[in-house]
Amino acid sequence: DYSAKVMDHFSNPRNMGSIEDCDGVGEVGNAKCGDIMKIFLKVDGDMIVDVKFQTFGCGAAIASSSMATELIKGKTLKEAWELSNKAVAEALDGLPPIKMHCSMLAEEAIHEAINDYLQKKGLEPWD
């Protein structure tokens, strides 16, 4: 069973869409497995000033995307990097065990997007 929070973020996803002139983009997952998540970042200094997502996946994947974008909006890149999938799941009042991997996607997509930004800036990617 999904929590009420999951269902809320799934039905009314926050920050859904794309950013035309984004500073970093990360895409993870695989359509064959039924899940792809794409995160778009707008960065000012070391601040994430805007973030949007597009997700192909289950309820948990969509809710995780929505929650994750809320959690990193207005945060520094470092803070966003630190966001774990467990934190996303917890913010959603938990995910069913077989759906935990869907929240991993959010963590990974954010990492990809931040590194994309850093690389575009000619900086070393983090790991």
């Binding site: 799934f10 039905s11 869409g17 792809i36 597009q54 997700t55």
Partner: protein, 394 residues
């Protein structure tokens, strides 16, 4: 999320409610007529007669003799019995089994287990509509083939197999022929004699009978071992105190379903065709299964760029209950083996939706689905990174 008050149940291939007339016939056997059919006193005889009446009804529904019908705990047990019972009883004759790649897991996993016991299994491919080719079957027969198990109608895509022809091939080669008719009985005419069937599985809850009760047809003279050993019930072939109320219910339900089949199917067919026609209007949507050799209650489509579980959840929010072949909605994390076997590409198989109609559905239900579904598909496509720009509406 708030749920609409008016609900539309379109998952009748998953299960059905027990219909009123059936519940009524079952009730006395839960309470007053609770006797054990093996007992010789009056209360036992009443139960015994009720079970035998149900057996006759099942036999009549599929063109069998009464003493060829055995009651089980459902389709899964019947399928397991067929596959394992034939395998163990005929081991000395051979160790090869032929089935198809789109069987229900009750057949497939029983076969896989037998592979671990030294049996060999050929899984026949299907064409894009989900049909097994009689030629393929012929070519896969070996000297040591002891069983051919091909389902009559598929639970996901509704495709009906040429079972009469497949059964004929089996018979000509003196190989036992089993058919999983769980989705077929009560939905299309079934005649075990005409169709050359030696063993047949059926399950009550697919035709408005009770859950946890099925039947198994064993043609007279078939060499098969028991699956459940113990007491001498069911002419010593299936042990366990008989589930009298459910057996009574199954008997009543099968009789009603077969009697009313023509009328029911006429109305289901109209709904099915309207649904298919209109859903295919949605861009990048594909029909799964055979266009004509198909159960009257089955609609199965794939929408590109979206994932099935999300679709189900949004439908649920609108009070529409359906199912999907997406891995994201299963505990196995494998997408539908049926759609995969039909060649639906892995990239789009997750966007499949099954709407399975039942006797209680109406054209208003179809209206409601057609009103709601296109919007939901669009909403999810807008959300998906896979959707090409031209299919977005933002």
């Amino acid at each position: 999320m708030t749920i609409e008050n008016r609900t539309v149940y379109m998952d009748n291939s998953a299960t059905t409610p027990v219909r009123k007339e059936v519940v009524e016939e079952m009730l006395p056997y839960l309470t007053d007529n609770f006797g054990n059919p093996s007992s010789i006193y009056e209360l036992g005889k009443t139960s015994k007669h009720a079970v035998e009446k149900a057996r006759k009804r099942v036999a009549d529904a599929i063109g069998a003799e009464e003493n060829e019908i055995y009651f089980t705990s459902g389709g899964t047990e019947s399928d397991n019995w067929a596959v394992k019972g034939i395998a163990f009883a005929n081991r000395s004759r051979g160790k090869h089994i032929i089935t198809s790649s789109i069987e229900h897991h009750a057949v497939l996993h029983a076969c896989a287990w037998l592979e671990g016991q030294g049996f060999e299994v050929t899984y026949l491919p299907v064409d894009r509509y989900g049909r097994v080719s009689p030629e393929d079957l012929k070519n896969s027969i070996r000297d040591d083939t002891i069983l051919i198990s091909i389902m009559l109608a598929n639970n996901e895509i509704g495709t009906i197999q040429p079972v009469e022809e497949l059964g004929k091939i089996a018979r000509e080669n003196r190989i036992y022929f089993h058919t999983d008719a769980v989705q077929a009985v009560g939905h299309i005419p079934v005649d075990v004699k005409k169709m050359n069937i030696d063993l047949l599985s059926l399950s009550g809850h697919k035709f408005e009978g009770p859950k946890g009760c099925g039947a198994f047809y064993i043609r007279r003279g078939t060499k098969i071992e028991a699956l459940l050993h113990g007491g001498a019930q069911e002419r010593k072939r299936r042990a366990g105190t008989e589930n009298v109320p459910s057996i009574v219910g199954l008997g009543k339900a099968i009789e009603l379903a077969v009697d009313e089949m023509e009328g029911t199917n006429k109305s289901l067919l109209e709904m099915r065709e309207r649904l298919i026609e209109n859903l295919l209007q949605i861009t990048k949507t594909h029909l799964n299964g055979h266009p004509a050799e198909r159960l009257a209650n089955n609609v199965n489509v794939t929408f590109e760029y979206i994932e099935g579980e999300s679709l189900l959840l949004l439908l649920n929010a609108k009070g529409i209950f359906a199912s999907t072949g997406s891995a994201c909605n299963s505990t196995s994390l494998e997408p539908s083996h049926v759609l995969t076997a039909c060649g639906v590409p892995q990239e789009i198989v997750h966007g499949s939706l099954r709407l399975s109609l039942g006797r209680m559905n109406t054209q208003e239900d179809v209206d409601r689905v057609l009103e709601v579904l296109p919007e939901i598909v669009q909403k999810l496509r807008n959300m998906s990174p896979l959707t090409p720009q031209e299919y977005r509406a933002l």
